[in-house]
Amino acid sequence: MKKFINAVDDVLTESLNGFAAAHSDIVTLGGGHKFIRRKTLKSGKVALISGGGSGHEPLHGGLVGHGMLDAACPGQVFTSPTPDQMMEAVAEVNTGAGCLFIVKNYEGDVMNFDMAAEMSEGIMQVITNDDVAVEDSLYTTGRRGVAGTLVVEKILGAAAEEGLALKELKELGDKVNRVTRSMGVALTSCTVPAAGKPNFEIAEDEMEFGVGIHGEPGRRRGKLLPADAIAEEICAAIVDDLGAAAKGNALLFVNGFGATPSMELYLMYNSARKMFEKHGVTIARSMVGSYVTSLDMAGASITLTILDDHAAKLWDAPVHTAALRWGM
């Protein structure tokens, strides 16, 4: 394992200290590094709190700030945060209008956020589950929440800033989640610092199709395909799954998992854009970059969110976080 670290046990703490120091104009850390919160809270605004295992940076800590999250609770690497983290975040950032938890659909995350919600007051939750690689079924855990979570957080962040109430925010979040779909492919595995070796083995000519954002194995293992073929399969799966909703304006978000150069991400975006337009979807907004990562995994995911005018307006609204910034 080759990483810039001092001791495995201090990775998270030292990294969070660095993050807070580098962005001290925007964020500050809660005690015991339990959460990252906005430096300045906006009283009367519903507080948006997200979180999850670390290793997906800039998600979620890099998305704390004006127009997006109020707090993010970082768990250990690839491990859901614990309820006390969310409870203390709530205690600090709830300015009276309640809190909305934005939670990626993993059992660990859901259970820990649930426990925190049960032990706090005035909480509602949006569960994101945009990953079409996993079959959606009531019987199983259902779909994972992946890169589309960022889109939900951005749109809800703007709406919260405009003063939308808790219940309406939850409804808006569910609505955006319903028109958001993602799927990813990994070319290499990733290494959790404390584990010291890659999460999975993958041959030099293989890719993992439908991979999650924890290096957990995906839908199938297959031979490495050309970018166009990968984009074709992913875009078809997304459009299929969206069904009748797959039309009109959309946001296309090509996300890198960490080790994939921007040159390849833009190439993938180029392929995906053509595919979606062939399917009759208009790419009205775009984002390309490594925002929802899996440590040092090479690979990418494609996310499509159908945008009505309201959602587009909220997407465009000013945001000022460590990772996303525009309009201010």
Binding site: G53, G75, Q76, V77, F78, T79, S80, P81, T82, P83, D84, Y106, E107, G108, M111, N112, D114, M115, A133, V134, E135, Y139, T140, T141, R144, V192, A194, A195, K197, N199, F200, G212, H214, G215, E216, P217, G218
Partner: protein
């Protein structure tokens, strides 16, 4: 050497916590490797972190009445483990503490364990046969209820963990693998068996 009332009431919490924390530390790499195969590779670290946190409070815990101590252990696990296993093992110990009377007999213990496992299943929206820790916890409870000796219970736990291999995961992270989860032991089942054997080992000499 059946697990009688004495075994339950005369529990030496310090020994018990030490035994469980030791086994989690000793098997952390193994659990992580199991989790790398069908999960996200953190289960060993999670369990070790949780029980080290519990170990750090042994002195305080040992002074509490057993039910309170179990609740405190559960809460500590919830607040330090994270992931799926934190709320689940946390719920197990918290519910056990809630259900046990201050001076439990064997029947009390068996009944409390049954309720605690149900609480885990409720928290996890899961049931037996889904390739999770429940596939060890339920057989352990049945064995306790049936009056098996502590070594027998430990063996049953091991067999139950082994028996998760052919199962297809329906719950937990491994569920996204579908058929590809078949053939691997469930990490949470393995840690449950390890905890069972550690606890059984501390109870045995007192029976």
């Amino acid at each position: 050497m059946t697990m009688d009332a004495a075994a339950v009431t005369n529990i030496d919490l310090t020994t018990l916590i030490t035994a469980v924390a030791d086994t989690m530390a000793a098997h952390a790499d193994e659990l992580t490797a199991l989790d790398q195969a069908i999960g996200d590779g953190d289960h060993g670290l999670n369990m070790k972190r949780g029980f080290e946190a519990v170990r750090a409070e042994t002195a305080t815990l040992a002074e509490k009445p057993l039910p309170e101590a179990l609740k405190a252990i559960g809460t500590k696990l919830v607040m330090t483990v994270g992931g799926a296993s934190g709320p689940l093992f946390g719920t197990l110990f918290m519910a056990l503490g809630k259900e046990l009377p201050a001076e439990p007999g064997r029947a009390d213990f068996s009944a409390a364990l049954a309720k605690a496992i149900d609480a885990v299943a409720a928290r996890g929206k899961s049931q037996a046969g889904q390739k999770t820790m429940l596939d060890v916890l339920y057989p352990v409870q049945t064995a306790v209820a049936a009056g098996k000796t502590t070594p027998e219970v430990a063996d049953i736990a091991d067999q139950a963990a082994e028996a998760t291999k052919p199962l297809k995961a329906i719950r937990g992270r491994a569920s996204v693998l579908g058929d590809r989860s078949i053939g691997h032991m469930d990490p949470g089942a393995r840690s449950s068996a390890l905890i069972t054997r550690a606890i059984a080992g501390t109870l045995e000499p007192r029976v």
